[in-house]
């Protein structure tokens, strides 16, 4: 990778006896969005905190914009924005006061009024933060992290607890920053969020990266699915020879999990046409991140290439 903005090598972090991160490596290139996914307790937030310079690694190296985020905190902080998974506000400040305060502690230049408008908080600017809804607080969170357009942005579960409309709004803001060249590291529980925003992802499990790569490559490694309703008097034996595995589900569906989607789908359609059958509820799709996630979670061996 040419010119990585973030380099993580052999990162390990422990809390007392418990090792939360057990050897994590990844690079993030200038201007890309890197998605860090994983089950609860997989070590995503700990990894993020180490990269943000909020936590000391037990071993391994972290470089952000060429420097150590912990040792060179003073040099790096003006260039990055951090949105933690759970950080709070003093409830007695108003939205405008909080933004004004944060601006005055930042060396980046920014326009408070337009930042407040961009996150759709204009009508709430003089409201005390304790009166905001959860979604509004999260948008204020994002506003502060992105104030003055940082070069690198860390988003730890930015849309958790947001309604679908607010989530789309957040995605829009993130896409806008990406278009202007900001590098983003994002953790999320929502697979569609990673599918929609990330170029590359890593899925963490039990402190390690279980799968990593371009979203399309990660998906391609998982078998695709073909499904249809069980025809009357069906017997698996009547199906043509397929490359994939056929599962006759008790719910009355036939599911085929196959690495050869086009070939098997063709075989099935030829067979159905030859027999004059109608396959109701026919569906064929590539693996979703959900499938990959599930595979990781159930500890299936997923090799990363």
């Amino acid at each position: 990778m040419t010119n990585p903005v973030i380099q993580v090598e052999g990162l390990r972090c422990s809390y007392g006896d418990f090792e939360a991160v057990r050897g994590v490596d990844f690079d993030v290139a200038q201007g890309e969005l890197f998605g860090l996914l994983g089950t609860n307790g997989a070590g995503k937030t700990t990894t993020m905190e180490a990269v943000e310079g909020l936590r000391k690694a037990t071993s391994g190296t972290v470089r952000v914009l060429g420097s150590d985020p912990l040792a060179d905190r003073r040099a790096i902080r003006p260039r990055i924005g951090i949105m933690l998974q759970d950080s709070g506000f003093p409830g007695d400040l108003t939205v405008a006061e909080m933004v004004g305060f944060w601006r005055s502690t930042s060396s980046r230049t920014s326009d408070a009024a337009s930042a407040i408008e961009a996150l759709d908080l204009g009508h709430r600017r003089d409201v005390r933060i304790k009166q905001l809804s959860g979604g509004e607080r999260r948008r204020l969170d994002l506003l502060l992290a992105t104030l003055g357009k940082p070069e690198v942005l860390f988003l730890d579960e930015p849309t958790t607890g947001l309604d679908p409309e607010s989530r789309l709004h957040v995605w829009e803001v993130v896409r806008g920053l990406l278009a202007e060249g900001t590098t983003v590291v994002l953790t999320t529980h929502y697979l569609e969020e990673a599918e929609s925003l990330a170029e590359r992802i890593a899925i963490m499990h039990a402190g390690r990266i279980a799968v990593a790569g371009r979203v399309s490559d990660v998906l391609a490694r998982q078998p695709a699915r073909i499904g249809f309703d069980v025809p009357a008097g069906f017997d698996v034996g009547v199906l043509p020879m397929l490359y994939g595995d056929v599962v006759h589900e008790p719910s009355g569906r036939v599911e085929v999990r196959t690495g050869e989607l086009q070939r098997d789908l063709g075989e099935l359609l030829d067979w159905a046409r030859g027999d004059g059958r109608v396959l109701t509820g026919l569906r064929a799709n590539h693996a979703s991140l959900e499938d990959v996630f599930h595979a990781v979670r159930t500890d299936e061996k997923v090799t990363s290439r």
């Binding site: 909020l54 933690l84 709070g88 003093p90 409830g91 007695d92 400040l93 005055s104 502690t105 992290a145």
Partner: protein, 232 residues
Amino acid sequence: MILALSRTELTLLLRNKTAASLALAMPLLLGALLLVNDTSDWTLTITLQLVMMLGFTVYTTVTTSLVARRQDLYLKRLRTGEASDRVVVLGLLVPATALGLAQAVVLLGISRAAGAPLPDRPLLLVLAVVGGAAMCCAAGVVTSGITSTPELAQITTAPFFFALFGGALWTWASDTVDHRMLLVPGGQIAELVKAALGGATDNVVPATASLAAWTAIGAALAVRHFRWEPRT
């Protein structure tokens, strides 16, 4: 940056009615009440006024507000910004300290108006006020580290708070002041006030040393045990 932090912290302090009344009204009210009683012993009156200011406005306010900011996860947010850890903590200490110093001026002014003599050694009075404030800031930060909720601060602040008053009264009431009294926080404050108002100056050096030691040890403990996040 430190100014921005302090200004915001002052706003928060004044908007919280409990904290504001504890930090502002209480010491002024009690300090003024002292004057209604017998004011023949100005050393006692001024000592109590200063100790009240240090205990309520500086020590208790610092402890309670740090715990409240931590519980709100606001401290955690401040750590994600550009300010260094040290600047963040100092910025949050400024308002309580400034309020305390302003109150000292007001209380001493009231006493003066009520007939208190001018101090013979005003610099020692300044030392008692400023050194006491520094010691109480350090103690407040340490106490915040062992206090999980703002409500619990009422309990966790009690030992140091009473040491301040007890030490001050012990020293004031003793004709011969020895090192035991000077080692108690409040004891050195009272001794410095005595000396400022014309008392003997033999103990000024050990009293100042004790004040500096409490501040230094407190600061060292504060740095080591400061907690940015609530215990989970």
